[in-house]
């Protein structure tokens, strides 16, 4: 194979795979790394494109994660879920979703509840 062809193929290999972009979470309420003074009652998620949520949990420290739902089979870009009563502390929200192209994405974000002293 000629060097010019080899170079062409290498460039192709390097860039063709980068074409497969995935959906991602671009905003949430509470936001990632946010500290809120009052326990939120609702969780909002906003993705850059329509997805189907397949798993959603919230976890405080080392305690067992709590599933949030119900999760619909229909795709959407924005979701809202009622939250259980949250004490002061740091929480991790973990999500999994499939995008319209069939890719499974996973992500997580954290926020902290720190109520004002009585």
């Amino acid at each position: 194979m000629k060097p010019s062809t080899l170079a062409l193929v290498l460039v192709c290999a390097a860039f063709s795979a980068s074409a497969a972009a995935h959906a991602h979470l671009h905003a949430s309420v509470p936001a990632d790394h946010a500290t809120v003074s009052a326990a939120p009652r609702q969780l909002s998620l906003a993705f850059n494109e329509s997805v189907v949520l397949t798993a959603l949990t919230i976890q405080k420290g080392d305690s067992a994660p709590t599933r949030l739902g119900p999760l619909a089979d229909a795709g959407a870009a924005e979701f809202k879920f009622e939250l259980p009563s949250l004490d002061d502390g740091s929480y991790v929200v973990k999500w999994r979703a499939i995008s319209a192209d069939g890719h499974i994405m996973a992500g997580k974000f954290t926020f902290t509840v720190r109520s004002a002293a009585p």
Binding site: V9, F15, S16, S18, A19, A20, V52, A55, K94, R96
Partner: protein, 287 residues
């Protein structure tokens, strides 16, 4: 083994088996047509690869429900299994499994022609991959799909021809083996550049070429490029040094040529494994 690792392993096996089975059929229908003594071995390879491809694809689809849940228990979740099998990945798996079933069935390896049905099944099995991935939902799908199809079909033909060529070198008379290798080199000289052009066009249309070489996705791309370039170097060695020696019947030529093809196969397989991991775990947008 974690869920992701198990899923990626199954995905890689499914891809490799698919490329071997479909590519093997393409080989017999094109550059491998002169084969006689080694044809039975190639047909057996295709049938086994097809059977493995079916099993791995079905298991991978079932594992996807687990990945959706983030735990193995998700595989028993009816809602998630429904999302898998009635979604793009499930549909692609069903189509691919049906096409590979045709290749796995008993066939007359002595027949001179591969047959329209098997050729169509091989092409369909590869093209089933078009229904998943980012091009499936892109507004420019009318342009992207043909480019990706060309890219995948040439990849299948290339990868799927290597072990059959090793069979030809081992089992055929030197002149027949030399003819197969020569035909392969001539066709590859046209198809590989076409594959490259198709890849470049895909990249141009979809991304604009973001790449900084520092993130996991980029590192995976570099690993792919390294494996790919090594395989190409071996291909060049085969074409210019080992193939002429094989055709002239020189001692040790068969062993060296076969070893080179096996190494080339391993390198391309490594590229496929990296691809399976990269597309499962990393996103270029988060890179």
């Amino acid at each position: 083994m974690t869920l992701d690792a198990a899923s990626i392993a199954l995905q890689a096996i499914a891809y490799l088996a698919l490329l071997q089975a479909a590519g093997g059929v393409m080989y017999l229908g094109s550059v491998g047509a002169p084969m006689r003594a080694g044809r039975e071995a190639v047909v057996a390879l295709i049938r086994r690869a097809a059977a493995l491809g079916i099993a791995a694809a079905l298991m991978h689809a079932a594992f996807e429900a687990g990945r959706m849940a983030g735990e193995f228990a998700g595989m028993a979740d009816g809602r998630l299994q429904r999302l898998v099998w009635f979604g793009p990945a499930g549909e692609a798996t069903v189509v691919r499994a049906a096409a590979l079933t045709i290749l796995a069935m008993r066939w007359n390896h002595g027949a001179a022609r591969i047959g329209t049905v098997r050729t169509a099944a091989a092409v369909l099995a590869v093209l089933s991959l078009l229904t998943v991935g980012h091009t499936a939902t892109n507004p420019a799908r009318g342009v992207l799909a043909p480019l990706l199809a060309l890219h995948l079909l040439v990849a299948a033909w290339w990868f799927g021809s290597l072990l059959p060529l090793a069979c030809a070198a081992r089992l055929e008379m030197p002149d027949t083996a030399g003819r197969c290798v020569h035909r392969f080199s001539v066709v590859a000289g046209w198809l590989v550049p076409c594959m490259a052009v198709a890849g470049l066009a895909l990249a141009w249309l979809l991304t604009g070429g973001r790449f900084d070489g520092t993130q996991p996705y980029d590192l995976a791309l570099l690993a792919k490029a390294a494996g790919f370039s090594s395989a190409l170097a071996l291909a060049a060695l085969n074409r210019w040094r080992l193939a002429p020696a094989l055709a002239s019947g020189r001692p040790q030529a068969v062993r060296r040529f076969g070893l080179s093809l096996v190494v080339e196969t391993v390198l391309l397989a490594a590229v496929v494994v990296v691809t399976a991991a990269m597309t499962s775990l990393f996103s270029p947008e988060s890179a």
